[in-house]
């Protein structure tokens, strides 16, 4: 461990501790005196202070887990990044993708209804494949990516996300060790500079789903857990086996960013996969660093979209009848509205109330959004 320099602007350090590449926990380091550097000893101290028992467990697990395979099968993977008019973030993403440590992978950039040629020009500097999808909608782009991909495993990430060096290795090992059809990973914030980012990560929960690896299957899930599909992963870090799409429908084109429903395409896919009996593995060792929105206005927009998207997702489930409609209704009232939104109105736990209100507004507008999105999707399908 080396000392950390140049931290005089920061009051707190949010440190992700990894052991042999596996993330263990966050450690919070206090820099109230605005020192410029923190030494390795102080880091050791802070880390052992806070997470000693988890570290100890990781050590013991390491020793017991003696069946580490030396030759892990590393199948070729296609990475699909869908983008729309965000060249700055896309540059960062591509630069990170270049540094991934993996023998065989291809990168496909799906440019979704772009307004200019900037993305196409940017992409020529990198050894990637460029595909253009004119119909606006993130799920249209994803489906296009699936059809263009050549390899048997398809990994998705967002254009404002920066995958970790060993991202693909972790995904490959997760696929190798189980019969999973889907692997999702841990999404951690790349920076916590502005209050909007801090609010999102700490107050709202961010995009991380924990540090424990889970194998999820319909058998072990209650109805409630199955419907809370947002607990299974995020679209910014997911991977699928290609053969999955031969047995189930691709991403729902009436959902996600770019359509009136503003999101929910990824969680709807997770839900559907599980509802049909396949296995999903949440592998926290597959890490992706995501740049949350910096400004407060974007954050409120994001939260609003979340509310809208989740409602649209529930309505899609109801339409597809993956589970009984009565249980979806019950879930939306008691769990989603009651427990998630209203309860947090009364006990915000540091998250600003007006943002929760935003989410509630989004939620209430979601039926209209869903209806509009459905019409829009039908129109686009017809105009093929």
């Amino acid at each position: 461990m080396k000392p950390i320099w140049g931290i005089d602007r920061y009051e707190f350090l949010h440190i992700l501790v990894r052991y042999h590449g596996k993330p263990i926990r966050w450690v919070y380091f206090n820099n109230r005196s605005y020192q410029r550097v923190v030494s390795a000893e102080r880091l050791y101290e802070a880390i052992t202070e806070q997470i000693w028992s988890k570290l100890g467990m990781a050590l013991i697990m390491d020793q017991i887990n003696h069946k580490i395979p030396d030759k892990l099968r590393l199948p070729p993977i296609s990475i699909v990044v869908c983008t729309r008019d965000r060249t700055v973030q896309l540059t960062n993403c591509l630069q990170t993708l270049m540094t991934i440590d993996y023998p065989d992978y291809e990168i496909i950039i799906v440019d979704n209804a772009p307004s200019s040629e900037k993305t196409a020009q940017l992409v020529t500097n990198f050894p990637v494949r460029y595909v253009r999808e004119e119909r606006p909608g993130l799920d249209w782009a994803r489906n296009r990516g699936i059809s263009e991909a050549r390899h048997s495993i398809i990994a998705f990430t967002d254009d404002d996300a920066m995958p970790d060096r060993y991202w693909l290795r972790a995904i490959a090992s997760a696929f190798a060790e189980s019969e999973a059809m889907t692997v999702t990973g841990l999404v951690v914030p790349a920076e916590l500079e502005t209050s909007a980012q801090i609010n999102f990560e700490i107050g709202y929960g961010g995009m991380s789903k924990g540090f424990r690896r889970r194998t999820i299957n319909r058998n072990g899930l209650t109805m409630r857990e199955l419907l809370w599909a947002s607990n299974f992963g995020v679209g910014a870090n997911m991977a699928f086996r290609r053969e999955l799409f031969e047995s189930i429908d691709p991403f729902d084109i009436a959902l996600d960013v770019g359509t009136p429903s503003k999101g929910g395409g990824d969680i709807e896919m997770f839900h559907r996969i599980l509802a049909q009996g396949y296995t999903l593995v949440y592998e926290p060792a597959a890490i992706v660093w995501h740049a949350h929105r910096r400004s407060n206005s974007f954050l409120s927009l994001q939260v609003h979209s979340n509310g809208c998207a989740f409602g649209a997702y529930l309505l899609t489930c109801a339409r597809n009848r993956t589970v009984s409609r009565l249980s979806i209704l019950h879930f939306s009232i008691s769990e989603w509205l009651g427990w998630w939104i209203f309860r947090r109105m009364f006990r915000p736990n540091g998250f600003p109330r007006r943002l929760i209100l935003n989410e509630l507004i989004g939620a209430s507008l979601s039926p209209f959004a869903y209806w509009r999105a459905q019409k829009h999707a039908k129109k686009l399908l017809k105009s093929r």
Partner: protein, 452 residues
């Protein structure tokens, strides 16, 4: 209660009896005729040869029928009766010890009913060792109804003995209770016996001097005496008052112990209400005393209403009050008070002998070093990582190897674990573990599973 003899002790038992060690049992008494008779009756049934026992009863200003009873007591052992005007238990014991002929002195209180093997257990412990102070087990038998106070009292006694019985216990001066303790007559004379200025806690004060001189304390769980406690709430508070005074005296005689005595951590309370109360209490002690006595009835009421927490709060407030009344009685003036409060910044390394223990070389190694050097306090490390400090305790015996593991498991547990994790010295299977045939997986007995 059961006694568990260890095999070797049987051999020692017969040898000790062959050696004819004389034992003198000293019992100070003050107006407790029935209790004393019970004690003497119990002593008549000792398994230790009665001809090698002598019992010296020191009647400290008894005005009931004690003397009469003693004169007519048919004792199968040598029974000496010494009468003296009331000078207190310490003086009585000293007087008894002065006329003792035996090589081992056993101090018993008049409310201790010994089991038949008590003297034998004490003597066995002394056999072959010198400068040993053997503390026996005074099992509390609380008289009267089971009320909160008596339960608390009994709990307090039991806790004391349970902690003394633990293998790595570090004995302190407060472990010595003269209700049931034995030591060699020579040792007693060397430390000049009890300090007669003390009306209570004279045993603690003796304990301090014994520790200073290097005697080793040991707890003998087989030396069982039933302690018939007759204390009640009123007597208890009076005793707390005396304890306050005694603590001040201890501080005077042994200034080294000042930092650890309870009264040296006195702080002027922050809130206005409490400060005024305190000033009032010191200006008009008699009024507040009377009030405090009345508060006892309140505590009875609380107990009847089963408000345990409130009862405990009131009880501890009253204890606190009476303790400080005792302290203030001894320290009459403000100057005396200021003088007696020690400077808290005592320099640990300068005043006390110290040692550094490195666990990375093995715990047995560390224990050996501790046994050799017997420091008063120690710094514990694991390699380069500090684990903690075993603080010096002026009233406790010096550190030795047997104390180490208990301290590591209790006070220093978390820092030790952290250091071990940092040094990556953690493994799941330290020693080989035998899988027992019936533990585990019987409910999947029909299923095949491959073991690692």
């Amino acid at each position: 209660m059961l006694t568990y003899y260890r095999a070797g002790d049987y051999i020692k038992k017969t040898e000790a009896m062959l050696n004819n060690i004389r034992v003198s049992i000293i019992i100070p008494t003050h107006n407790r005729e029935a209790s004393l008779k019970r004690t003497l009756d119990a002593l008549c049934n000792q398994t230790y040869p009665l001809q090698n026992m002598e019992v010296i009863v020191v009647a400290d200003g008894c005005i009931d029928g004690t003397i009469n009873m003693l004169k007519h007591y048919p004792a199968p052992f040598v029974l000496q009766v010494i009468e003296q005007s009331p000078h207190g238990a310490a003086a009585a014991r000293n007087r008894g010890a002065a006329s003792a002929q035996g090589q081992i002195l056993v101090f018993l209180d008049d409310d201790i009913e010994s089991t038949p093997s008590l003297i034998e257990a004490h003597t066995l412990r002394h056999y072959g060792r010198s400068w040993q102070v053997v503390i026996g087990y005074s099992s509390p038998v609380v008289q009267g109804s089971a009320d909160l106070f008596r339960m608390g009292l009994r709990s307090w006694w039991e806790d004391k003995f349970t902690s003394m019985n633990k293998p790595g216990h570090r004995f302190t001066y407060s472990d010595l209770c003269t209700g049931n303790v034995s030591l060699e007559t020579e040792l007693f004379k060397k430390v000049n016996g009890f300090n007669q200025d003390f009306l209570c806690r004279e045993d603690y004060e003796l304990g301090i001097r014994l520790i200073d001189i290097g005697a080793s304390f040991i707890f003998e769980p087989n030396a069982i005496g039933y302690h018939h406690e007759t204390s009640d709430l009123y007597k208890h508070f009076k005793r707390v008052y005396q304890e306050g005074r005694a603590d001040v005296l201890i501080g005077r005689y042994h200034p080294r112990l000042l930092p650890i005595l309870p009264f040296s951590s006195f702080k002027i309370p922050g809130s206005f209400f409490r400060r005024t109360l305190l000033r009032f209490a010191f200006k008009f002690p008699k009024i507040v005393d009377a009030f405090a006595v009345r508060l006892r009835t309140v505590s009875d009421l609380l107990e009847w209403l089963r408000l345990r927490k409130r009862w405990h709060q009131l009880h501890s407030a009253l204890r606190y009050y009476w303790y400080w009344r005792g302290v203030s009685e001894e320290l009459n003036t403000q100057q005396a008070f200021d003088h007696s409060l020690p400077c808290r910044l005592f320099h640990a390394d300068k005043d006390f002998s110290c040692m550094e223990i490195d666990l990375s070389k093995g715990i047995e190694e560390a224990e050996k070093r501790l046994d050799q050097e017997r420091p008063e306090h120690a710094y514990v490390l694991y390699g380069l990582h500090p684990i903690g400090h075993i603080p010096p305790n002026p009233g406790a015996e010096r550190l030795s190897g047997k104390h180490l593991r208990q301290i590591l498991a209790n006070e220093l547990a978390v820092p030790l674990l952290k250091a071990l994790i940092l040094e990556k010295a953690i493994s799941a299977a330290g020693t080989s573990y035998q899988r027992f045939p019936h533990s585990g997986q019987f409910s999947v007995e029909k299923n095949a599973h491959k073991s690692a």
